[in-house]
């Protein structure tokens, strides 16, 4: 049987969901026998999101231009997209800035009012991506096939979600075992 092509992407999150993924410990070896990791910030050095990906775990909400571009590409090239963790599912902690009236007042507060030596707004077009006005959960922008809330989802829940997928079945996200915010 051909190996499943697995990708993971990291948008606006703290990397906690990826760390939780690495907490799968020795099960990662079992996983490695069944999947090819074709793109991932923690498991490959590929720069371009490849074509024909089977499953992609998305950590983080959509907070800037780069996140937006990557999630659109990933959606286009992936069969089964999973919102991985609360930032992807609810926008979570990064969205705390949404209540403060958009990107501008927040940037001004951080970089100008609280800037000590040389207060200036970060501005490197093409290098530092522009912030979107609002941090948004992934499914508000592209279609999501499965939601795995949690901040982060613990390793055993990640395993319980991925295992059925490897057998070609859709996991049942029900009850306290599988649904947990925060």
């Amino acid at each position: 049987m051909a190996k499943i092509k697995l990708a993971t992407i990291w948008l606006c999150g703290c990397s906690g969901c990826h760390m939780s993924f690495l907490d799968l410990d020795e099960w990662l070896l079992e996983l490695a026998e069944k999947v090819d990791v074709v793109y991932s910030p923690v498991a490959s050095d590929v720069k371009e999101y490849p074509e024909d990906v089977d499953v992609c775990l998305v950590e983080g909400g959509v907070a800037n231009e780069e996140n937006l571009e990557l999630i659109r590409i990933a959606r286009e090239r992936t069969k089964f997209l999973i919102s991985f963790g609360d930032c992807a599912v609810t926008a979570n902690v990064p969205a705390l800035r949404n209540m403060l009236g958009g990107a501008e007042p927040v940037l001004k507060r951080c970089y100008l009012e609280l800037g000590d030596a040389n207060p200036q707004l970060p501005n490197f077009p093409g290098i530092v991506p522009e912030l979107l006005d609002r941090v948004r959960p992934v499914h508000e922008l592209v279609h999501v096939d499965l939601f795995m809330p949690g901040c982060p989802p613990p390793a055993d829940r990640i395993q319980a979600t991925i295992e059925p997928l490897l057998r070609g079945e859709k996991p049942v996200m029900e009850g306290r075992e599988m649904i947990k915010f925060g």
Binding site: T90, M99, P149, M173
Partner: protein
């Protein structure tokens, strides 16, 4: 007192006139999810989680404030109801600012419990991200409007059990909010006895004890019920 007979999910129930469908369902061993209902205080039908279908009535009615009547045929778990219940919980999440990861009651929250119960793993409604205040003027407790679902459990407990009537609801629609005293900071309301009943009654992290950190705050959910039984039946132990 006359007795009414009805069926709930096919189970025959006989119960005294004036009882609510929620009480009748309990009697019949049928569980209906609730949020604003609190054992020991009056019901107000604020959250709409307990909606049920009644044959011959073409709207859904809240079980906690609907009285039983003779021959009623009640359904509590149809597909329509499951769908609406999920929507109700989704709306509660997207209406306020529920960032569970930094909440005092994370893991001990009845709104989270409701989400799990109705099978909500995300909300289909766009988040509103409203701007709301936090009142920490009371020396022992705090009120975070971001997490308030306007169930008014605090209002009813303070009025009906403590007898202080510190809380009320002000405003309309999305501007509705809980106020203390005459919209004073909580700490300045002399009527407050600092009993903490409102804090224990609150299903979310909206009312909390000061100094509790993320996921630390557990509420004494049985306190109100205990107090009512103690008063009415003179049973002082639990």
């Amino acid at each position: 007192m006359s007795v009414k007979t009805l069926t709930i999910d096919g189970v025959d129930v006989a119960i005294e006139e004036g009882a609510t469908l929620l009480t009748a369902a309990k009697e019949a061993g049928v569980h209906i999810p609730t949020l604003c209902h609190l054992e020991g205080v009056t019901d107000v039908g604020a959250c709409r989680l307990c909606l049920v279908e009644i044959e011959g009535i073409n709207k859904l009615l809240p079980a906690c404030v609907t009285e039983v009547s003779e021959g009623m045929k009640v359904h509590t778990n149809t597909e329509t109801l499951q769908e609406y219940r999920r929507m109700v919980v989704e709306m509660l999440f997207s209406e306020g600012n529920h960032i569970c990861a930094v909440c005092v009651v994370n893991g001990n929250c009845q709104l989270q419990d409701a989400a799990i119960e109705v099978g909500m793993d995300h909300t289909r409604f766009p988040y509103r991200f409203p701007q709301r205040d936090v009142d920490v003027s009371h020396d022992r407790f705090g009120l975070d409007h971001n997490r308030c679902i306007l169930c008014t459990r605090c209002v009813r407990v303070c009025d009906e059990i403590e007898g202080a009537h510190v809380w009320d609801v002000a405003g309309r629609g999305p501007a509705s909010r809980i106020i203390s005293g005459l919209a004073q900071p909580w700490g300045e309301v002399e009527a407050c006895t600092s009993c903490g009943k409102c804090v224990d009654a609150c299903p979310t992290g909206s009312l909390f004890r000061k100094g509790s950190t993320v996921a630390e705050m557990e509420k004494d959910r049985g306190k109100v019920e205990f107090l009512v039984t103690a008063r009415e039946e003179h049973k002082w132990t639990r």
